[in-house]
Assembly symmetry: C2
Homo-oligomer: 205 residues x 2
């Protein structure tokens, strides 16, 4: 019997040319120029079809600890000189500890519904160690953005990569796999929904 | 009733990170460092499973005229100072006119089984015009490599893009969409086989 303890997963919505965000990301347009009008219109529109994509959406939030880069957490740069508790309101969808990678220390930020944002200043391996401890028998999910995912992939720390490929190309922006050496993958699952294809890969090496 | 006359399709096998060939392409290894031992081992291994992938394979060769870049046609560079009639033996799988983009003139090269290689020296639009004329009511297929496909995509000349996504990343090489501006696509079809996912997109703009 294999244990799933400490398994590290990653979900990322990307364009067909591999971008998780376009150029010119801002507070008003967190995913930048993605051809939509705002909050991830194009790259994340599939998430609003909760019926058709139920299995994938449930799997995305099934982890018991989460990791994200600071740019995914919010638009504040440098010191935490402005109150910012993420994009997700008072009750974020994580309901578990979320470890935010940053160079600037900040006290943990508890939210409603069981989410607490922890701010990690000593690197991706330290964040993963804390997340594994917090996750217990559950999985750790690396949430993104692509820059953070690329660091974990390059370090060989992702076990399962779930890509949600959206029918658009962006031509520029933040690209998944940028700077990541060759990986040997196993196609574990693949399913086409009406406006997105869900691909799950195990990372073998 | 819409006519399909002159429809331009493109089939390309790519890694999950979008490469159609690795670095260090050579006569011995036409697809370069792709993690395999030779002739496109990894990127094209799915083609040997003709039962599971029958529909996609039949669709790939259903066009009635083909276009390819010179690097896909063969390893000869510069003047045609060496006899080279493609990688496919005396009876290539095209059975139709194939227009090869090159800067160096050469007489048409008829092969067995109905394939004739025509060498086009005045650019991609001229090659497409000739291919459309040769295709009659049928489709024109842009065969690759990615450099050629990117030129046609950037010029807005591809109607249907069929990607065969292989579970490997290469990290470097010739990348589909490199330098191609943002495209609006429609996911027309998507099917997972055991070791490849077939994605078909219509190019809307």
């Amino acid at each position: 019997m294999t244990t799933r303890m400490g398994r590290v997963t990653c979900d990322l919505s990307i364009s067909v040319d591999g971008y998780s965000a376009g150029l010119n990301q801002s507070e008003q347009r967190p995913f930048g120029d993605d051809g939509g009008d705002g909050w991830g219109d194009k790259l994340h529109a599939w998430m609003t079809d909760t019926e058709e994509n139920r299995a994938e959406l449930e799997r995305m939030t099934a982890a018991t600890a989460f990791i994200m880069g600071r740019n995914m957490f919010g638009p504040v740069r440098g010191e935490w000189d402005r109150q910012w508790n993420g994009w997700w309101g008072d009750n974020p969808p994580y309901h578990a500890p979320v470890f935010v990678l940053t160079h600037h220390p900040r006290d943990p930020q508890p939210m409603d519904g069981g989410t607490t944002f922890h701010f990690v200043t000593d690197g991706i391996e330290s964040a993963l160690k804390s997340a594994r401890e917090a996750a217990g028998d559950g999985a750790v999910s690396v949430q993104g953005g692509a820059t953070t995912v690329n660091q974990y992939l390059a370090a060989g720390l992702i076990d399962e990569l779930r890509l949600h490929i959206v029918p658009i190309t962006l031509g520029a922006g933040t690209r998944l796999f940028d700077g990541v050496p060759s990986l040997n993958l196993e196609q574990a699952e693949s399913r086409a929904a009406s406006s997105v294809t869900h691909l799950t890969y195990r990372v073998l090496s």
